[in-house]
């Protein structure tokens, strides 16, 4: 990690580049010698990458002195001298060029230009080297390279081998047609394809985005999926036409016929032989993906159940002596589980802001049950979005419900909400002690007033019916404005 932190410092303060001793405090950096030739730095590179580094062809080396002698050293800063790592920031694909730039002190763009030129000059070998480097050099901050993971990935290796064999077939066809330039690309092509397949299978999530961009450049073009499909078809047609032209240019039209027929036979033969195997690889990949999804779902389910149901059951066992609290816990858990199973709401997500009348009623129910330890039977008919008027209505209903919970002494409060085209009504009813509206005690009166005032300010009406011993019912009605009457079902 120290490595990573220092690299960030290096990027963020260009001034530090000039001060050679700015790096001395970390013991791991050796000689800060700006004039050191880049070639010596490959030793570290090879230390990090192990024997597989042998595969790196000379192609990447021979351009360096040449270009330097041509005066291409203009942007050389001081390299950090640390081990070669693929850069995470400022990468285009694998971060190899950015890593090289950081290691050697050259400008990233210079290195990229050089890499592209080298790819053309070496007819693709450099690209293969790039992919191999991507595989065997760990990214900054990563502990191991992708290759070390890929070695354990048998399916990935199978896929790579499958791709290689498919490519081999195509190249055999090309060589049969005497298309020399394709044949010369055979080795780099196969290495790139197999390497990218392994990277795709084993790279961490953040790197996969770059692989995807490499694999599907068209998909990255902006626009909707439709225009992307169009772009893809156009590119595919262009490639097909180019391929056909390349084929036809080397042959007479009719002379092409016999080799083509032969190739079709060869392809058919190879497909017959290897097709099932390719299919199995593809099917394995799909199966594996589905199994992973299932396992993830199961794990999520288990953790949800653990967080909610199992915790509540444990609580209930501990509080078995208090039937009141047990009922309360069981009810709260039941509601939460129901919301998750039937309404697809994550546990706990019903808290916070309600958007609809039904949500609001559910929240009142939940809150009052949790705070006052009594049952609230809530029934909602119809539903609509909340506006300020309806929020006031719900706030008044909440007051009335809390009031009933506090004073009525009844074990159950019924809450009924009905959304009609021209009004929303809410009824809060209990069968508790009730009171005489003509002789209300001060505290009750205060509450009634607050509910009443809240409703009146918004043009709603409040009716309170009660008699001693017969319970209480508060009816709240809020008219809806024309604009809000668009129906909305739950």
């Amino acid at each position: 990690m120290g490595d990573h932190a220092d690299s960030a410092a290096w990027r963020s303060s260009p001034a530090a580049e000039q001060v050679g001793d700015g790096w001395d405090h970390t013991g791991s950096w050796q000689q800060q010698d700006g004039s050191r030739r880049p070639d010596t730095s490959w030793q570290n590179w090879q230390d990090a990458s192990g024997p597989a580094a042998e595969q790196r062809p000379g192609g990447t080396e021979h351009w360096r002195p040449r270009l330097e002698s041509l005066g291409l050293r203009w942007s050389r800063g001081s390299g950090d001298g640390g081990p070669f790592r693929r850069e995470r920031d400022g990468r285009l694909a694998g971060g190899v060029a950015a890593g090289l730039a950081r290691r050697t002190g050259f400008d990233v763009t210079t290195i990229r230009v050089v890499l592209v030129v080298a790819t053309v000059v070496t007819s693709g070998l450099c690209a293969a080297a790039y992919v191999v480097t991507w595989l065997i050099v760990p990214a900054v901050g990563a502990e191991s390279s992708i290759a070390s993971k890929a070695l354990a990935d048998r399916r990935g290796i199978g896929l790579a081998v499958g791709l290689t064999s498919a490519l081999g077939v195509m190249l055999a066809i090309a060589s049969a047609l005497n298309v020399a330039w394709i044949t010369s690309l055979a080795f780099p092509l196969i290495v790139c394809a197999a390497g990218l397949a392994l990277i795709w299978r084993n790279a961490p999530q953040d790197e996969l985005a770059y692989v995807r961009r490499l694999a599907d450049p068209v998909g990255m073009v902006g626009g909707g999926p439709r225009s992307r499909t169009v772009a893809r078809v156009i590119v595919a047609c262009l490639l097909l036409i180019l391929g056909l032209v390349a084929l036809l240019s080397g042959h007479e039209r009719y002379a092409l016929f016999r080799p083509l027929a032969g190739i079709v036979l060869v392809i058919a033969g190879i497909t017959m032989a290897l097709g099932p195997w390719w299919l199995r690889i593809a099917k394995n990949l799909v199966d594996e993906r589905q199994a992973r999804i299932r396992a993830e779902e199961r794990a999520e389910m288990a953790s949800r159940v653990h967080d909610s149901v199992l915790q509540t059951l444990a609580l209930i066992q501990r509080r078995a002596a208090d039937p009141h609290q047990v009922t309360q816990l069981a009810r709260a858990q039941e509601r939460e589980l129901r919301a998750w199973l039937f309404d697809a709401k994550a546990p706990g997500s019903t808290e916070g802001q309600a958007d609809t009348v039904a949500d609001g009623v559910r929240m009142i129910q939940q809150e009052v049950e949790a705070q006052h330890g009594m049952s609230v039977d809530a029934v909602t008919v119809g539903n609509c979005e909340l506006n300020d008027d309806l929020r006031a209505l719900l706030a008044a209903a909440r007051e009335a419900t809390v009031n009933a919970a506090k004073w009525s002494g009844a074990p159950v409060v019924s809450l009924f909400a009905e959304v009609e085209p021209d009004a929303v009504s809410l009824f809060v009813r209990d069968r508790g002690c009730g009171f005489d509206p003509a002789a209300v005690p001060g505290d009750r009166k205060g509450l009634t007033e607050s509910v009443h005032a809240r409703m009146a300010r918004r043009g709603g009406t409040t009716t309170v019916r009660s008699a001693p011993g017969e319970g209480t019912e508060v009816s709240l009605t809020m008219p809806r404005s024309v604009a809000d009457r668009l129906p909305r079902r739950p």
């Binding site: 129901r338 039937f342 309404d343 049952s375 039977d377 029934v379 909602t380 008919v381 119809g382 159950v412 019924s414 009924f416 009905e418 085209p421 009824f427 009813r429 069968r431 019912e473 129906p487 079902r489 739950p490």
Partner: protein
């Protein structure tokens, strides 16, 4: 009709006077024993079953007055039991009992022929009362069921206005029925509803039974659509 039970000869016919004979269908043994202990003394529990097949066989054999039926059973829905038994023994009455809130399940059982719906959180005395009511041929609407029914019939009302309905009698609730349902949804008992509307309890019962009949016989597609919409959410 072949029942070896000694009480069945006179008992099932005279259900309203004596203790109703009850058959329990629920896949949870613990819940069955709970209900049995709550109902003991008040009703006569003649049998129980834990799945669709045994339930149909058992009910056909002992011909109870009331079947307490779980909406969800391992071998299918409660409505399968209702449909199968109703064909042979139309006099058997069903009361749906469920922990499920999913309205379409509840409505499905009611439409299959159940006379009412209560939630499993109902108290013992209330359950006894509901069983008696169903045994007497009345409908039992809990506040929640009343809410579902209002919702189902209100759902497509604006859209249904401009569309000819096959049977307006069955496809709409009368103002009075709606009033009764609303009061039930607000938590009123039948007696309280009667007092509120200045009608007799019998009239309330007949309104509720009429709503139940409409719910069961209505062919309006809005009802199906409503259920489908609820399932989607």
């Amino acid at each position: 009709m072949t029942s070896g039970h000694p009480a069945s000869a006179g008992g099932s016919r005279a259900a309203t006077t004596g203790a109703p004979r009850v058959f329990l269908v629920d896949d949870h043994g613990m819940f069955r024993s709970g209900v049995r202990s709550e109902l003991s003394g008040e009703v006569d529990i003649v049998g129980e079953a834990d799945d669709v097949g045994p339930a149909i066989a058992g009910i056909s054999e002992c011909e109870p007055d009331v079947v307490l039926l779980d909406v969800h059973l391992p071998g299918g829905g409660g409505q399968d039991v209702v449909t199968a038994v109703k064909a042979e023994h139309p006099q058997v009455r069903f009361l749906a009992l469920s922990a499920s809130d999913a309205p379409e399940d509840v409505i499905a059982v009611i439409r299959a022929g159940a006379r009412g719906y209560v939630t499993k959180t109902i108290s013992g005395p209330e359950l006894v009362d509901a069983v008696r009511r169903v045994a007497a041929g009345d409908a039992v609407f809990s506040p929640r069921l009343a809410g579902f029914v209002l919702d189902a019939f209100a759902a497509a009302a604006p859209a249904g206005m401009d569309r000819p309905t096959f049977d307006p009698e069955l496809d709409q609730l009368t103002t009075r029925e709606r009033e009764v349902l609303r009061l039930i949804a607000r938590g009123y008992t039948y007696r309280e509803v009667a007092k509120e509307l200045f009608i007799s309890v019998k009239t309330v019962e007949s309104h509720v039974s009429s709503v139940l009949r409409k719910l069961q016989l209505s062919t309006r597609h809005q009802l199906t659509r409503w259920a489908a919409e609820r399932r989607l959410t």
